[in-house]
Symmetry: C2
Subunit: 190 residues, 2 copies
């Protein structure tokens, strides 16, 4: 019996061989790029709800890699009539945005051979609650604007670091979702 062991090429914890393999597979069969993500949310009480996330479809099949569902709590602070069982909805969006930029930056840096030592993001967003509370239809309910600053620690020179920065701004799914309109179809079932 012969066993062959190959050591994966890891940059920033990203398996570069798999990344290149994925890109090549999609170039050959574009339908592999189609993904469907899902979430189920149940109201608990007051401002508190609970979301479970497990299944997804992608790369041509149902993904069964998650043995258990992820559980996310959502709630409001007392000033917004909640009990702090979790971050609120607009805070969850800030997490989604940073999480997306983190993945995009790290994967692209890895593909370019840029080794990242540390990467962190600070985000904030402003909301005028006149919209949410139905007190004005001239005030938008959502963020008026989001400010995000981030720091990268790496031996690579600044101009090399700027490449993945530019890249993620063109390719980040959540940045696109926030900056540009996404159609949302809402159905109330019986």
């Amino acid at each position: 019996m012969t066993t062959t062991t190959t050591t994966p090429t890891l940059v920033n914890g990203v398996n570069i061989d798999q990344l290149i393999g994925t890109i090549n597979a999609i170039k050959e069969k574009p339908a592999l790029a189609r993904f469907n993500f899902r979430a189920d949310t149940k109201w608990v009480n007051g401002g508190h709800c609970r979301t479970t996330i497990q299944s997804l479809y992608g790369a041509g099949q149902e993904d069964t890699s998650r043995a258990r569902a992820f559980v996310l709590e959502g709630d409001e602070p007392p000033v917004l009539l909640g009990e702090n069982h979790g971050p609120n909805a607009v805070e969850a969006v800030l997490h989604g945005l940073a999480s997306c930029l983190s993945v995009g930056f790290i994967y692209n840096a890895a593909a370019q051979g840029i080794r990242v030592e540390a990467l962190d993001f600070r985000l904030e967003g402003d909301i005028d609650l006149h919209g949410f509370l139905g007190l004005s239809d001239k005030v938008r309910p959502g963020y008026e604007g989001i400010r995000l600053s981030y720091r990268v620690k790496s031996d690579a020179p600044r101009e090399k670091i700027e490449e993945p920065c530019e890249y993620v701004q063109r390719t980040s799914p959540v940045l696109d979702i926030i900056r540009n309109p996404v159609p949302v179809a809402i159905t109330l079932e019986n």
Copy 2:
């Protein structure tokens, strides 16, 4: 010694007196409606990052109600080169959306005296990864569309239930963030 105890009027777990008090306070002093939400995210390894959410500003002051920060993990499934340490960024957005509609629906129903027994949401969104992987600039990186269906269990008649449904579609912060453009300012620090 005289103690006065008042029982709050709770509908759906929402303190109606506080809700009315908040609305009246904002009508009197509109600046109380200004909120600032924040998040800090650190990359861990590969697709994995960790967000902490604690402080916020609102109702005219820094909010100190959270003794501890909420911690959210973000990661990708193995098919997207991650290790499933948490839901991914676009799944977190689905959670944010449902969480927002849940709060908005429940609060508005409570204000109208509609008692809700159960409320749950099912969400899904489609993404073509050609955008995220930088394989096409004709494919948007984010969701092409999101479908959300929800069920409400309540003694109230269907037409009464439809009122908070309409209301949240006009006033939900996250629905607005997803459906309409939000400016995002990104700064790479030194």
